[in-house]
Symmetry: C2
Subunit: 301 residues, 2 copies
DNA sequence: CAAAAACCATAAGCTTGGCCTATGGAGTTG
DNA sequence: CAACTCCATAGGCCAAGCTTATGGTTTTTG
């Protein structure tokens, strides 16, 4: 039994006459009549008795009607679902990002995405990079945004921008007079920065060596945002990525670090998993949002 | 989405490769490949990523897989059901009959039917004729067997035989010497027979008048089988249809009534309801069983 | 009571779906 | 590197599904 035959049968059962059923399905009466006759021929038993030019359901028709109706409705539902999928009107996009892009880029990307596709569920996971990789592998997220492009081979990293470092000064710190700081300015000061053996810590150490200075981070952090509290408490100067919108936090002065290393901003996807259309649209939005955020930063600097 | 596309999609999801799926569906690999490609084209999004010659389901495919599988299974189930209906391997046949045919004809008809169609449920309702008509009208039974052919116009009655009357004698009654009785033999005796204003009572009275005798039923019954107890108790001679297998009851002697009226045996159907194939097969069995029973009676007589 | 309306079926013709066999290209493996 | 496996394409066939045109029945209506 083909899907069309099912629809025709259900329509005739509901409408009572072939003509009305044809109207319901927006096809001609002979077309529907043919399908119905052909269906009966294939089934091997009649579905309707023709009596005085009218149709009367046979017991067999009554017997299969309930199933036919259920299946027909199910097919309709699936068709609706697929058109929704085609138009990107349904689905769930999960993005895992480390905190700086999660706070700086995703809000903008999600806003633009939501404006275009109001019916797609969005989920943002703020996680350290190792967790992001795990989520991408497991399919718990289809997109990742991190500040590292050195990743396992099964993770594809597309660099969509880069940012330098920012120095977070306690509100009344002397260095706030300068609009830009260099590594040399920080020598001998209490520094709050990334723990050793991480990408940014290595890059910072390398840059310092290149510039002939020695830095001594006295407080190591894991995620840049956790520096906020320590800086506010006056425990030192935060030396962190410039991406996170630090100006949102009170009690901080933010200054660019000149001649420092750059963080790549990478869009991560699993090589073993395909992106849905919705994912791809979100990826575009993230690229755009990243570019927009970076250009704003450049203007401000 | 056509049913075939659904099946192909499910098969590919389950099999993992186009080739294996084609084997599952017993079609050629190119045929399945085409259907899959065409389906993706119609849907507007890809269901599988082709990577290194292999297929990998897209998130969209995963999203609709559950529904597709459910629907595909449902279609399979419906197809099985329809072939069962065609072959008469499923269904329910309900027959309403008055007690004499229910006891004399239906056992034989049901036995033959069951031998041919062991999977069809059978239901026998023993009921007075008015109830049979109601059941046929309501669809609670599709076939009826009664000993009357004068029925409302919406009930079709096909006479499939006729039987005369039988006289039920208490075990030691004097009349048992005769192999056949006439109405004249019964004059003046205590009779147990149908209540007035019923078809058989009228016919009996008419026959008696025609033969110039007067009968005086002293105990009126509704259904012939209820005569058994009264006859066994010696309350009189039962004058009832010859159809019911009276010889099954102990303490009775059965003698044919010669020159008495005949009961029609009628097969009843509703004119407003169609018969299922199973109903029609049962109707044939009832006709055959009736003929067989009547010929046995004739041999015995 | 006859004309109009409603209903179903058939006929002829077209487009597309679904299937085949044959073949080729791409990737994996012994 | 050759054999194997996998998927896609090409060309051809038949049946499904749709159209318009038309005719036969039965019911409704003026």
């Amino acid at each position: 039994m083909r899907a069309r035959q099912l629809e025709v049968f259900v329509a005739v059962m509901r409408a009572g006459t072939v003509t009305a059923a044809a109207r319901m399905l927006n096809i001609s009466q002979p077309a529907l009549s043919q399908i119905l006759l052909h269906t009966e021929d294939e089934l091997g038993f009649t579905l309707f008795e023709r009596v005085k030019g009218r149709l009367r359901p046979t017991p067999e028709a009554l017997e299969i009607f309930a199933d036919a109706e259920r299946l027909s409705a199910g097919l309709d539902g699936l068709r609706r679902k697929t058109t929704d999928l085609r138009l990107g009107r349904t689905g769930l996009v999960r993005v895992a990002a480390s905190p700086p892009p999660a706070m700086a880029i995703l809000p903008r990307a999600f806003t633009a995405f939501r404006a275009q596709h109001p019916d797609i569920l969005l989920r943002s996971h703020s996680a350290p990079i190792a967790a992001i990789v795990d989520m991408l592998r497991a399919g718990d997220a289809s997109l990742g945004v991190a500040m590292d492009d050195r990743l396992p081979p099964d993770i594809e990293a597309e660099v969509i921008g880069s940012v330098g470092f920012a120095c977070l000064l306690p509100a009344e710190h002397a260095l706030r007079r300068k609009t830009e700081l260099t590594l040399a300015d920080l020598v001998g000061l209490e520094l709050i920065s990334y723990r050793g053996n991480t990408r940014p810590a290595d890059e910072l150490a390398h840059a310092a060596r290149a510039q002939g200075v020695t830095l001594s981070p006295s407080l190591e952090i894991d995620v840049s945002i956790s520096a906020v509290g320590f800086v506010q408490a006056g425990m030192g100067i935060g030396l962190v990525d410039a991406l996170l919108p630090w100006h949102q936090f009170a009690g901080l002065a933010v200054r660019r670090l000149a001649n420092g290393p750059e963080f790549p901003i990478a869009l991560l996807t699993s090589r073993t998993r395909a992106l849905s259309l919705a994912d791809e649209m979100m990826r575009d939005q993230i690229r755009a949002a990243c570019a927009a955020v970076l250009s704003e930063y450049r203007v401000r600097a």
